[in-house]
C-alpha cells in the first residue's frame, strides 16, 4: 500500500505542475483556459524533437520550450483572447477550446500520430522508496512545482508586475485608471501560464515515458479537475488538488482496477463540486458572484422566420429524403441526428445560459436504453425511441440536479464530469450493457410494420424527429416558459428577485435537452446497429456545443444550420484530410471572434 501511495504522490506532483498554470490563468484573467493541456503537449513534443531528434541536452531544450510556449501564449492572448475583452467570459472559454483543438491537430500534422519514447533528459528510475523506483526527474519535477508555486506567490504579492496582474484581475477599469497597462499585464499573465505549461510538458514527458501529440486533451482535463478540486484561482490549491487527485486515483485504482479510472477521477470532481464548490482551498465568496452566466451574446435574438417561411423550410426538409442519393441521405442522417441533440441544447445553453459540455452522456443513455429495450425486451422501435428520450432525461436530470446550485464556469466543469461519469457508469454496469464489449445486432428501425432499411428511409425518420424537436423547442421558446429561461440566462439575480427559482428551471431546460439527446442516441443506435461506450466521448459533447455556437446559441434553426456545416462540410473536405481536422477548431475561433451571435441570429 505504501508503494501505491507513493506512486500516487509522484503522479499527483505531475498533475499539480499543470494545475498551477490552469489556476494562475483563471485567477488573474477569469478565463478557464481549455488550451492549457495542448500547450503542455506543445512543450512535450518540442522537448522530444529537440532532445531526441536533435540530441540537445536539457538546458537548451528547456530554453527552446520556454521561448516557443511564451510566444504561443502571447499570440493566443493578443490574437484571440484580448479582442474578446468586454464580452462574457464564456466567449473566451469557447475560444480556448477552439485554440486547443487547433494546437492538438496541428501537432499531429507536424509530428504524426505515432507514440514515441521521450528522451531521458534526466534519470527516471535511479532512486527507490518501498517497492517503487523513481528518478531525479521526479525530484526535480516536485521541486519545480514547489518553486513555481512559491515564486508565483512572491511575484503576485511583492512584485510590481505581479501586483499589477492582481489589480487587473480584480477590476480592469480601476487598474487602467491607476495607470496600469492592462493589455500588457494580461499578455504577461498568459505568457507566464503558457511557459509553465510548456515546462510541465517536459516533466510530464519524463514521467509518462511514452508520448503522443494527442496527449494534450487528457493532460489538460485531469489538470483541470485537479485545479477545480483544489479551488480554481488558488495556486496552493492547485498543488494540493493535484496531489489529492494523484493519491485518490492511485488508491481507487488499486482497489477497483483501472477500468474504473474515469469514474474515480470525475466522481471525485463531482463530489467536490457538490460538497465544496469553491474547492479545497478556494476562497469561499467567489463562486456565487462570478459574472459568468449568460449567453456570451447578451441580447442576441434568433432570426425568426415568418410562419410560411418555417413551413416552406419544413416542407423542403421533408422532401430531401425523396430526392437525395444514398450518399447525401447517409450524410443527412448524421446531420439530422446531431441537429436533434443540438436543438435541445439551445434551450439550456442558449436561453438559460448554462454551458453544457457533457451532452454525450444523455445521448449514450438514450442509445443504450433503446438498444437494450429492443434487443433484450423486444420492444417495438417507436416505443423504445420514446422511452430512450424519457430515460435519458430522467437519469441525466437526477445526476445533474445537484450542479444547478453552481454558477458560471462551475456548471461547465460539472457537466464535463457528468458526461464522463455517465459513460463510465455504462461501462461498469456490465450485466445490463455488456460494458466495453458493446451491444451488437440492434435492429433497424421499424415503423408500423415497415423496416427502414435504406439510407433514405432512415433519413426520413430522422428528419421527422428533427422537425418534432424543432416544434417542441420553438413552442417552448415562445411560451411563458421560454421567457423564464431567457430571464435566467440574461440575469439570474434579477430573475430570482421576481420570484423565479433558477435551479428548478435550469433543471427543466436541461431535462428537455436530455430528452432530445436521448432521441438522437436512439436513432444513432438503430442506424449503426451497434453501440459501445467509446462512441460517446468528449468530442461528441464538444461537437454538439460547437454546432449551436456556430448556428446561434439560442436559435433552433441555427442548430440545424450549424449541424449541416459541421457534420456535412467535413465530408466535402474529404479531399484534404489534413485540413479537415483543423477546420473545427478554426471555425469555432472565427465564429466567436467575428460573428459571436452565431450564423442564424442577430444582435439585439
Amino acid at each position: 500500500m505504501i508503494d501505491t501511495l507513493f506512486s500516487g504522490l509522484i503522479h499527483g506532483g505531475a498533475y499539480a505542475l499543470v494545475a498551477v498554470g490552469v489556476s494562475l490563468i483563471f485567477g488573474v484573467t477569469n478565463i478557464v483556459n481549455f488550451a492549457q493541456g495542448s500547450l503542455v503537449a506543445v512543450g512535450m513534443m518540442l522537448a522530444w524533437y529537440t532532445g531526441s531528434v536533435l540530441g540537445w541536452p536539457i538546458i537548451p531544450v528547456v530554453v527552446a520550450v520556454i521561448v516557443v510556449t511564451a510566444l504561443l501564449g502571447w499570440l493566443i492572448n493578443a490574437g484571440i483572447i484580448a479582442p474578446l475583452e468586454g464580452r462574457k467570459p464564456i466567449a473566451a472559454l469557447l475560444a480556448t477550446i477552439g485554440v486547443g483543438q487547433i494546437l492538438d491537430n496541428g501537432l499531429q500534422i507536424v509530428f504524426g500520430a505515432r507514440t514515441r519514447p521521450f528522451p531521458k533528459l534526466l534519470d527516471t528510475s535511479n532512486l527507490q522508496v518501498a517497492g517503487v523506483r523513481f528518478g531525479t526527474s521526479d525530484i526535480v519535477m516536485v521541486a519545480v512545482t514547489v518553486l513555481a508555486m512559491l515564486g508565483l506567490w512572491a511575484f503576485l504579492t511583492y512584485g510590481k508586475a505581479g501586483r499589477a496582474i492582481r489589480a487587473t484581475a480584480q477590476d480592469p477599469q480601476a487598474a487602467q485608471q491607476m495607470g496600469i497597462p492592462v493589455k500588457r499585464i494580461r499578455n504577461l499573465a498568459f505568457v507566464i501560464g503558457a511557459v509553465l505549461s510548456g515546462i510541465a510538458g517536459i516533466f510530464i514527458g519524463l514521467f509518462n515515458g511514452n508520448i503522443n501529440p494527442m496527449n494534450g486533451g487528457t493532460i489538460g482535463l485531469t489538470a483541470f479537475v485537479a485545479a477545480a478540486i483544489g479551488g480554481l484561482g488558488s495556486i496552493p490549491g492547485a498543488v494540493v488538488g493535484g496531489i489529492v487527485l494523484g493519491v485518490v486515483e492511485a488508491v481507487g485504482v488499486f482497489w477497483f482496477g483501472d477500468g474504473a479510472h474515469d469514474l474515480i477521477t470525475f466522481g471525485a470532481l463531482i463530489i467536490i463540486l457538490i460538497a465544496r464548490p469553491q474547492g479545497l482551498l478556494g476562497p469561499k465568496t467567489d463562486v456565487k458572484s462570478e459574472p459568468m452566466t449568460g449567453t456570451f451574446l447578451a441580447g442576441a435574438r434568433p432570426i425568426a422566420l415568418p410562419w410560411w417561411g418555417n413551413l416552406a423550410l419544413a416542407a423542403a426538409l421533408l422532401a430531401t429524403p425523396f430526392l437525395f442519393s444514398d450518399y447525401l441521405a447517409g450524410i443527412g442522417t448524421q446531420v439530422a441526428i446531431y441537429a436533434i441533440a443540438a436543438v435541445g441544447l439551445t434551450l439550456i445553453s442558449g436561453s438559460a445560459g448554462q454551458t453544457i459540455l457533457g451532452l454525450a452522456g444523455p445521448v449514450a443513455f438514450g442509445a443504450y436504453a433503446s438498444a437494450i429495450l429492443t434487443t433484450q425486451l423486444h420492444w417495438p422501435f417507436l416505443a423504445a425511441l420514446l422511452a430512450a428520450g424519457v430515460i435519458a432525461a430522467l437519469f441525466a436530470s437526477i445526476l445533474t440536479f445537484p450542479s444547478w446550485k453552481l454558477s458560471g464556469h462551475y456548471v461547465a466543469i460539472a457537466t464535463i464530469g457528468l458526461g464522463a461519469v455517465m459513460v463510465a457508469l455504462i461501462r461498469v454496469a456490465e450485466p445490463l450493457t455488456h460494458g466495453s464489449l458493446g451491444i451488437t445486432g440492434i435492429p433497424f428501425p421499424t415503423v408500423f410494420g415497415a423496416t427502414l432499411n435504406t439510407q433514405q428511409k432512415i433519413y426520413l425518420l430522422d428528419v421527422i424527429v428533427l422537425l418534432v424537436a424543432l416544434v417542441i423547442v420553438m413552442r417552448i421558446q415562445k411560451a411563458h416558459l421560454g421567457h423564464v429561461f431567457d430571464a435566467i440566462g440574461s440575469d439570474q439575480e434579477a430573475s430570482e428577485a421576481i420570484g423565479i427559482r433558477p435551479g428548478a428551471y435550469k433543471a427543466l431546460a436541461y431535462a428537455v435537452a436530455a430528452f432530445l439527446a436521448g432521441l438522437a442516441g436512439s436513432l444513432l443506435a438503430h442506424q449503426y446497429t451497434y453501440v459501445d461506450p467509446t462512441i460517446f466521448n468528449s468530442n461528441m459533447s464538444l461537437l454538439i456545443l460547437t454546432i449551436i455556437v456556430l448556428g446561434g446559441m439560442n436559435s433552433p434553426i441555427g442548430a440545424v444550420l450549424g449541424s449541416i456545416i459541421l457534420i456535412g462540410a467535413p465530408e466535402l473536405l474529404r479531399v484534404v484530410p489534413e485540413a479537415r481536422i483543423l477546420a473545427y477548431g478554426a471555425l469555432l475561433v472565427l465564429v466567436i471572434m467575428f460573428r459571436p451571435q452565431g450564423l442564424f441570429a442577430r444582435k439585439g
Partner: protein
C-alpha cells in the same frame, strides 16, 4: 433593417438556393426512398475498385499508415499480374479516423459507387460495425481484415473477416503461459477487443489449471499504471501477462521493469516498430501472439512478400501490413475465380477453398460458411530477441 440582418437575409437566400440546387442535382441520381441502383453499369468500366475505410488521420493514424503500405503493394502486384480479368484494380480510400460517425457517413457513398466491388477495413470494430449494415443492404462484401471481434460478422452474410479469431489467439497465449508457470497476473485493455480477449484467456487458463492471482483492466489513455501493476507484482506470479496493444504494452513493460523492479517473465506488446522503439531493452523477452514473422516465416508466398515489401519500403513488414496485403490479394483472387463484380466476390467467398495465405505455414485457407471467418489460420507465438520479433518456442 440593419446591415447585419440584410447580410443574413442575403445569406439565407443563397443558402436556400444552394440547398435547392443540391437537391435537384441529387434528384437526378435518385428518386424515392428505395435508394440508388448501385451495380447498374459496373460491367462496362475498365477499372474496378476496392473501397478502403481506414484511419489516415486521428489517434489511429499510425495503423492506417501501415495498412496503406500493405494495400498499395498488393494492388500494384495484382495489376502487374494482369489485374482482374483484364481490368485494372483501383483502391478508393476514405479517411474515417476510425470514427463510427464518419464510417456511417461514407458507407452509402461506397455502396452507391458502382465501380466498387468490395470494401476492406476499418481499423477498429465499432467503426467497421457502423458501416456494415449499409454494405449488407447493398449486397457489397465487407471484408474486415483487422476485425477479430467474434461478433463482427454477425451483421449479415456479406460481412466477412479473415482475421484470426480472438479466441484462437488467446487460447494459444494461455497455453504458452501455462508452460511458464502455475500462477499468472493478467492486465488487459478496457475496450471491446481486450474484454473479449481476456474472457477467452481466462477460460483457457482455467482449463489448463493456471491460477490467475491478479486481474485488472486499464483504460487505453491511462498514463500511470503503477496502481494496478504493484498488486500484480505483489501477488507473486510466475508470469505477468498483458492483453493489449503496442503503446500500452510498452508502458506496462517499462513500468514493471524500470519502476517496479519486476524481473520475472512478461507476455505482452505488439508486433510493431512502435512497440520495440517505446519499450527498448524492456521489450527483450516479451512474448506475443501474432500471425506472421517476417524473420522466421517458411511460407514461400510470405517470403516473397517480405522481400518485395522490404525493397519498396526499406523495412520488414509486420502483422498489420501483411493482413492488409493479404486482404487485397484474397479479393483479387476471388474476383479472378468468378468475375470482378459484387456478386462475383460474394460467390467466390462462399465457394472458393484455396485463398492465398501469407501468414502461418499453410499457403491457402478457406472460410467457414457459418461464421464467415477463417478458422484454419493458426496464430503463432513471437518473442523479442535482440530488438526483433522472432518465432517463440515454449
Amino acid at each position: 433593417m440593419s446591415i447585419q440582418s440584410r447580410t443574413i437575409h442575403r445569406f439565407l437566400k443563397t443558402f436556400a438556393a444552394a440547398a435547392t440546387a443540391t437537391a435537384l442535382i441529387a434528384g437526378t441520381a435518385a428518386c424515392g426512398l428505395d435508394g440508388d441502383d448501385g451495380t447498374a453499369d459496373a460491367a462496362d468500366a475498365d477499372v474496378v475498385n476496392i473501397g478502403v475505410l481506414y484511419p489516415k488521420t486521428g489517434q489511429y493514424a499510425e495503423y492506417g499508415r501501415l495498412f496503406e503500405q500493405g494495400l498499395e503493394l498488393a494492388k500494384d502486384e495484382v495489376n502487374a499480374d494482369g489485374g482482374l480479368q483484364g481490368k485494372q484494380l483501383g483502391l478508393v480510400y476514405y479517411d474515417t479516423q476510425s470514427d463510427p460517425k464518419q464510417d456511417a457517413s461514407v458507407a452509402p457513398k461506397l455502396a452507391a459507387d458502382a465501380s466498387v466491388i468490395a470494401v476492406v477495413g476499418d481499423y477498429a470494430s465499432p467503426a467497421s460495425a457502423a458501416a456494415s449494415p449499409t454494405f449488407q443492404q447493398a449486397g457489397l462484401v465487407h471484408y474486415g481484415f483487422n476485425n477479430s471481434s467474434p461478433t463482427f460478422t454477425e451483421t449479415g452474410d456479406h460481412v466477412w473477416s479473415p482475421a484470426i479469431g480472438t479466441d484462437s489467439y488467446e487460447r494459444a497465449y494461455a497455453d504458452a503461459a501455462a508452460k511458464i508457470g502455475k500462477k499468472v497476473s493478467v492486465v488487459y485493455i478496457e475496450n471491446d477487443w481486450g474484454k473479449q480477449a481476456y474472457e477467452y484467456f481466462k477460460e483457457q487458463a482455467a482449463k489448463n489449471g493456471t491460477e490467475i492471482v491478479y486481474e485488472s483492466s486499464y483504460l487505453p489513455d491511462s498514463t500511470d499504471l503503477s496502481p494496478i501493476l504493484i498488486p500484480a507484482r505483489d501477488a507473486k506470479p510466475d508470469l505477468i501477462v498483458d492483453i493489449g496493444y503496442g503503446p500500452d504494452g510498452a508502458l506496462i513493460a517499462n513500468t514493471l521493469r524500470d519502476k517496479l523492479g519486476y524481473e520475472g517473465p512478461f507476455f505482452g506488446g505488439q508486433e510493431t516498430a512502435e512497440f520495440l522503439d517505446l519499450a527498448g531493452d524492456n521489450a527483450e523477452g516479451a512474448v506475443i501472439t501474432g500471425s506472421f514473422s517476417a524473420e522466421g516465416t517458411e511460407n514461400p508466398g510470405a517470403q516473397a512478400f517480405v522481400k518485395a515489401f522490404k525493397e519498396r519500403y526499406g523495412n520488414n513488414p509486420g502483422n498489420f501490413e501483411v493482413t492488409a496485403y493479404q486482404a487485397i490479394k484474397d479479393l483479387a483472387y476471388a474476383a479472378n475465380k468468378t468475375e470482378p463484380t459484387r456478386e462475383g466476390i460474394q460467390k467466390a467467398l462462399q465457394t472458393v477453398d484455396d485463398f492465398p495465405l501469407y501468414q502461418g505455414n499453410d499457403t491457402t485457407f478457406s472460410f467457414d460458411q457459418e461464421t464467415r471467418r477463417a478458422p484454419g489460420i493458426n496464430p503463432i507465438l513471437l518473442v523479442v530477441k535482440d530488438g526483433k520479433f522472432v518465432p517463440y518456442e515454449a
